[in-house]
């Protein structure tokens, strides 16, 4: 059992259970992608293919090439450890033969010999300690450095890859790529130096064996293919079982997360028993899968341990015959048998590496898929003049369809020219493509057809960084970083306090920011002050304003703001000569009123364009849309009050308590345990607006026309 222990100890180094690192292999790793973007040599390890063993060796190769010197030192340390393990036995043996027995026989203890013996034993122990540091600490350093290196590469990839790529991959999955997959990928590296170190022992033993007796040595040499064969069978047999267990582990977490997420529904409908049974079913499935995988392991470990023992017995049997025939000397048989017992440990060590290889390959494969992902968003060399005042915006037959539904384009050819300094409202039913268009204006995605031009230049021809410098998008779903208010507003730009304050003032955020414990320097988020949804939206708006954008895109970014405050924001935007062209996605009439002009989107095209009054007068669809809330109110109250689309207050879901707002806070993790589940917090955290909209709009796309018809029917 102790030998099994060591393996565990080696893998527990990160302070996390290796088991928690388990995640099901993502379907997307299935198609091994070519190294199109191997801007680091990390990608050279190759994606997982058919030969897991060779792939495993390649992963090890990546790590060894990454940290050659530390790795070499670790192997040297391990070799020293191996030698000293034998050495300590030898030192005690030497002391026994040369000091203990003669002294006792003589009946006197000459101090010098005894001192030498004592010092020798201590010296060997010290040398062994040096070896231990090499074996364990340096091996750890290799692993930790490689993890850090790959994580940096992953972060670079995440930041480089376009939003469309992000939308295709759940946040939880990407987080586990950066976390547990990286951990898993280099797990075989932990015991590797040890293994290589003891291989020195092993080689010495093998050479010794062959020098002693070639025939008997061959029996010893047969152990290696035996171990490899055993391991192959084990991998084939246990691999799928472990993969299944990992998958089920994810299911357990999913059910738990969903159930706790919907805790209010569970509680208010009294469905605790039902939920517990749902969770218990998943848990039992995981338990059974773990037990099945454990059984494979239960068999493999003792069998691997038995192999050298059986080798010894084979040598004894064969040796006895050979000695009887006069072909071998008894002494040689004994020493080969002894050498084989020495091999037991190195063979175990090789087993640790082999045992971890399949998991390493899976982990690295998933990491590799990220590192080698292609990115289609390219930049040109165009530059804009950034002090030219408001921008001119041209939409030229802009088409857009989401990857998930290419046959259902959201935008089907939107053309419009928006003159500098104008404020334009985008109005349309859910699914009409407003938010998609807003997203395209900030170049968070590229049109699938047509072009968007800023001052006559196609956004795709502009150099990296040009679009963010000219365009600011404020989405409905705000995202704030876990930093100070100041850092969130300035977001890396050099801005004076006065500029920041001016932006906060227009966004109606200055007063509440001043009331925060540390004013502008108050930290927001999990570890800092919790803000309400409306307050967060106002900070996001200030963030856009402080950059003096030439094109400001507002996507229903005041939905959670108190109506009266919203009015103040809107009038502030109107009064302040922003020096920007403004495109605002509008749901509320007050927002529409801010605009010089309205673009009425319907079915993915601009159905009409003009002032609010003009459209009311001539466009039936627009009229229905804009007055539907009031009509709904009439239905409900039989009262003709046109104020019906206002909300009373900025009130997050059933929340008087600040605690409530944590649910909408940024996921920031204190607990390692959270590692995997943090990802799942994405669902409760601020979601990227485009992603939300994407989902909503694709879902609603098919319904769009039907809905409008139905609406007409309803109000007629």
């Amino acid at each position: 059992m102790p030998s099994r222990r060591r393996r565990r100890a080696e893998t527990a180094q990160t302070g996390r259970s290796p088991a928690t690192a388990a995640r099901p292999p993502a379907p997307r790793t299935a198609g091994a992608q070519p190294d199109t973007h191997s801007d680091t040599d990390l990608a050279a390890g190759g994606a997982p293919g058919r030969a897991p063993f060779r792939q495993g060796l390649r992963v090890l190769g990546v790590a060894i090439r990454g940290e050659p010197r530390v790795f070499a030192a670790a192997v040297t340390g391990s070799a020293l450890y191996g030698i000293m393990t034998v050495g300590s036995a030898w030192a005690i043996g030497w002391a026994t033969n040369h000091v203990v027995l003669p002294d006792l026989r003589r009946g006197s203890a000459p101090g010098r010999g005894l001192a030498v013996a004592g010092l020798l034993i201590v010296a060997v122990a010290l040398a062994k300690v040096v070896g231990i540091f090499g074996r364990r600490l340096l091996a750890g350093v290799v692993v930790f450095r490689m993890q850090a290196r790959i994580r940096r590469a992953i972060s670079a990839a995440y930041l480089r890859l376009p939003l469309s790529w992000h939308q295709r991959h759940p946040t939880g999955q990407l987080l586990s790529n950066a976390n547990s997959d990286v951990e898993m990928a280099f797990q075989p590296m932990n015991p590797l130096p040890m293994t290589l170190g003891v291989i020195v022992m092993l080689l010495m033993a093998v050479v010794d064996m062959f020098l002693t007796d070639t025939v008997l040595a061959l029996v010893g040499a047969l152990l290696f293919p035996a171990v490899i064969a055993l391991n192959t069978v084990y991998t084939r047999y246990a691999g799928p079982r472990f993969a299944r267990a990992q998958e089920l582990r994810a299911h357990v977490a999913e059910v738990a997360h969903e159930s706790f997420d919907g805790a209010l529904v569970v509680k208010t409908l009294g469905r605790e028993d039902f939920e517990t049974e749902r969770f218990a079913a998943r848990t039992r499935a995981l338990r059974d899968a773990n037990i099945r995988a454990g059984r494979a392991r239960s068999l493999f470990d003792p069998m691997l341990e038995a192999v050298p023992n059986l080798g010894v017995l084979a040598v004894l049997l064969l040796g006895a015959t050979r000695v009887a025939q006069g072909a071998s000397r008894p002494g040689d048989v004994v020493s080969i048998a002894y050498l084989i017992t020495l091999l037991a440990f190195p063979i175990r060590a090789i087993g640790w590496v082999l045992g971890d290889l399949p998991r390493g390959v899976v982990g690295y494969g998933r990491v590799h898929a990220v590192l080698s992902a292609e990115h289609s968003s390219d930049y040109g060399h165009g530059k804009l003049s950034h002090d030219a005042g408001p921008a001119t915006l041209d939409l030229d037959a802009v088409r857009f369809a989401y990857d998930s539904a290419p046959e259902l384009p959201v935008l089907r050819g939107v053309s419009a020219r928006i003159e500098p300094g104008r404020t334009v409202a985008l109005v349309g039913a859910t699914g009409s493509g407003k938010s998609t268009l807003a997203t395209l204006l900030a170049r968070l995605a590229d049109p699938t057809g047509g072009a968007i031009r800023l001052d006559g230049t196609d956004l795709r021809e502009l150099a990296r960084g040009e679009v963010p410098r000219a365009v600011a998008l404020v989405a409905q779903q705000t995202f704030l970083f876990g930093e100070s208010v100041r850092a969130n507003v300035a977001l890396g730009e050099q801005r004076t306090e006065a500029e920041i304050r001016a932006a906060l003032r227009i966004a109606q955020a200055e007063r509440f920011v001043d009331a925060l414990p540390d004013g502008l320097d108050s930290v927001i988020g999990e570890r800092g002050t919790t803000l309400s949804g409306g307050q967060r939206q106002r900070l996001a708006l200030a963030r856009a304003l402080v950059r003096n954008p030439r094109l400001l895109v507002l996507d229903d970014c005041t939905s959670a703001v108190d109506p009266s405050v919203e009015a103040a924001i809107l009038s502030g935007l109107k009064q302040n000569a922003l020096g920007a062209t403004v495109v605002v996605v509008a749901y509320r009439k007050a927002t529409v009123a801010l605009a010089d002009e309205v673009l009425y989107l319907d079915g993915g095209v601009i159905a009409d364009r003009g002032t609010h009054e003009e459209l009311l007068a001539r466009s039936a669809g627009y009229r229905e849309l804009i007055t539907a809330y009031a009509r709904a109110a009439e239905d409900a109250a039989a009262a003709d009050d046109r104020a019906a689309d206002s909300a009373v207050a900025e009130d997050p879901a059933l929340g008087d308590s600040a605690a409530e707002d944590r649910a909408v806070g940024e996921p920031a993790l204190e607990d390692p345990a959270l590692g995997d589940s943090a990802a799942e917090d994405r669902a409760v955290g601020d979601r990227p607006a485009t992603e939300d909209e994407a989902a909503a709009e694709t879902a609603a796309a098919c319904e769009d026309l039907a809905a409008t018809e139905d609406l007409e029917g309803a109000v007629a």
């Binding site: 987080l175 976390n179 805790a263 006895a320 390692p672 955290g685």
Partner: protein
């Protein structure tokens, strides 16, 4: 245009009773842990016996080999192949027996540990739902999830291997000590004195190691936080071109993690090395002192050599023990968190669990608040002296600004929380005396966000009535006037709604939530109106469905729309934790009070268009 005052700017977090880690000595925690999962210890005797056999087997093999050599190869008159064959056969038998014992032991361990862990997971899961909303919301979702996943997992390693190793190690250590003492008490003292400083330092080292691993955990948490910012905030990062800055933040966190890991590893290795040095000192000491003793006639050569072997028998388990202790510490901290959860007492208990539930008289519910006050633990009062009576079948709207206390009012009404003072009565019975079973059937709340579970529409509606058939679900939609909407879906009631219901629009999710409440058929309905903008067609549907849903029931709506307030029989106006006005819309508008001001603000908004 005047601007109404901002709601109180900072929502200072009230001191919410977070789920704490269980305290107490490690031994106590282990005892509690074992009691929670009886599977761990069930049949442990047999498993230990097998472990013993497997361990003894390891010794039997070298012995058999040595016998074969001594009596076979070195047999007088040349090699005795027969003897070798017999010994080899015996040894092979021993190998097989050892394998079998190890295999059976492993199997039993996996079976016992996985079963025990599953039990613990399910218990912990159930308990999370037992906690009040206050508790649930005080915790990060992820933290709660980790109580039932990774916290439990940390116990796995220890249970599956560590615990047994620790037991065997300690046993072997004491056994070795006993035999050593029989050989030479002086040398035994010497060996122990080499290890005593290590044992003494162990507590400190363990604590330090624990602290360093804690730092590792925290830094990993921060690193993941940084990663998740770059993922969740991807649109912002791109829209504002702040990739470099974001990357820097991630990389700093990545490097901090690496540094913390190396530091933790260094301490672990040092601890292990200290054991190695102690072993070296003990060995050297035994040789030196042993020879001196031997020369003095106090020890024979054989005993001295025997001592040297015994010392190694003593040292090995000590070293394994040190390793296992690290793991034990992880397991215990995992246990602490899970036990802490299980020991946190639900602050809104079900009276039925103590067998003291009272029945809620049949029929539409009459609600009465008697001098009700509420404050979050350690916080200022959120509601003050609320007295109100809502008659059966009344439709009441509750309005007020953020922080006015209207949602607290709703939570007390549905007994998601208990008042800190006063009583909430339904049909004359205090809410906290009504069993949850009945309460949740008769009093149903539709929360604002209309949370849906990943499944079909019918599955979600069945959260309201477990045994409703698909046909019954369809019929419910029909009665709510939503039949046309439902038939427009690709698979009708079997349409899948996706995670959190995100395949549906926000408005459509509300429709499903309404159907869910409708099929539950409560006598008191509480609606928290959504604020989010939904498209007009859906809005109309919601209004229609609400009319049907609220018919004939006592209904309380947290209103965010003027139309809702207008349509209500009565409006309750909350301000700064007090019920300041009540009456029909028309009356209140003309009173010139808080409601009139709210109304004026709405009206202004409307005129702006």
């Amino acid at each position: 245009m005047t601007i109404t005052a901002d709601p109180p700017a900072i929502r200072t977090a009230p001191e919410i009773p977070l789920v704490r880690e269980a305290t107490g000595s490690p031994l106590l925690i282990v005892r509690k842990g074992l009691r929670l999962s009886p599977e761990f210890t069930r049949g442990i005797g047999v498993t230990m016996l097998l472990a013993f056999i497997a361990t003894v087997g390891r010794i039997v093999i070298p012995v058999a080999v040595q016998q074969a050599v001594d009596h076979g190869f070195d047999a007088p008159g040349g090699v005795d192949t027969g003897e070798v064959r017999v010994m080899a056969a015996l040894a092979a038998l021993a190998v097989a027996a050892t394998m079998l014992a190890a295999y059976t032991m492993n199997r039993r361990l996996y079976q016992a540990s996985e079963s025990g862990l599953a039990t613990l997971r399910i218990k912990a899961f159930r308990h999370v739902h037992e906690l009040s909303v206050l508790h649930q919301q005080a915790e990060q979702r992820g933290a709660l999830v980790s109580r039932v996943t990774s916290d439990v997992d940390t116990i796995t390693n220890f249970i599956q291997e560590g615990g047994l190793v620790l037991f065997v190690s300690v046993a072997q250590m004491f056994l070795a000590t006993a035999v050593m003492a029989a050989y030479s008490w002086q040398l035994t003292l010497l060996v122990w004195s080499c290890f005593l400083p290590l044992f003494a330092a162990m507590r400190v080292l363990q604590r330090r190691t624990g602290a360093r691993y804690n730092t590792v955990r925290q830094s990993i948490g921060r690193m993941l936080g940084a990663f998740s910012e770059s993922l969740v905030g991807a649109p912002v990062v791109r829209a504002y071109g702040v990739e470099e800055r974001t990357g820097r933040r991630i990389n700093e966190a990545v490097d901090a993690t690496r540094a913390a890991q190396v530091r933790a590893q260094a301490l672990t290795v040092s601890t292990f090395s200290a054991g190695e040095i102690a072993a070296g000192l003990a060995n050297a000491g035994v040789v030196v002192v042993g020879v001196v003793l031997g020369v003095g006639g106090h020890l024979t050569a054989g005993r001295l050599i025997g001592m040297l072997f015994l010392v190694s028998l003593f040292i090995t388990p000590v070293q394994w023990g040190v390793e296992v202790l690290n793991e034990a510490q992880n397991a215990i901290s995992g246990w602490r968190r899970v036990i802490g959860l299980l020991e946190s007492v639900p602050d809104v208990p079900d009276p039925a669990s103590r067998g003291r539930a009272e029945a809620l008289p049949q029929g539409p519910v009459r609600v009465e608040f008697q001098q009700v006050a509420f404050a979050y633990p350690g916080g200022p009062p959120v509601l003050r002296d609320i007295n109100v009576l809502i008659s059966p079948r009344a439709r009441v709207a509750v309005v007020g600004e953020t922080g006015s206390g209207k949602t607290t009012f709703a939570k007390l009404l549905t007994r998601l929380m208990d008042p800190t003072r006063g009583r909430v009565l339904a049909n004359g019975v205090e809410l906290r005396r009504v069993g949850f079973d009945e309460l949740r059937r008769r009093v149903v709340m539709v929360p604002q966000d209309g949370f849906l579970f990943d499944g079909t529409i019918a599955d979600n509606v069945r959260y309201g009535a477990e045994d409703a058939t698909d046909a019954a679900v369809s019929a419910a939609f029909g009665r709510l006037g939503l039949g046309d909407w439902l038939s427009g879906l690709p698979d009708g009631v079997r349409t899948r709604v996706g995670q959190r219901g995100e395949s549906l629009s926000a408005g459509e999710r509300q429709l499903v939530a309404l159907a869910r409440a409708y099929i539950a058929d409560p006598d008191l309905l509480l609606l928290d109106e959504a604020t989010s903008a939904v498209d007009p067609a859906t809005e109309l549907r919601i209004q229609r469905a609400l009319d049907e849903l609220t018919r004939g029931r006592t209904t309380v709506v947290i209103a965010h729309r003027l139309s809702t307030a207008q349509a209500a029989d009565e409006v309750l106006v909350f301000d700064a934790g007090e019920l300041v006005e009540r009456g029909p819309h028309g009356t209140l508008v003309n009173q010139g009070g808080v409601y009139a001001r709210l109304h004026a603000s709405w009206a202004r908004q409307a005129q702006a268009a």
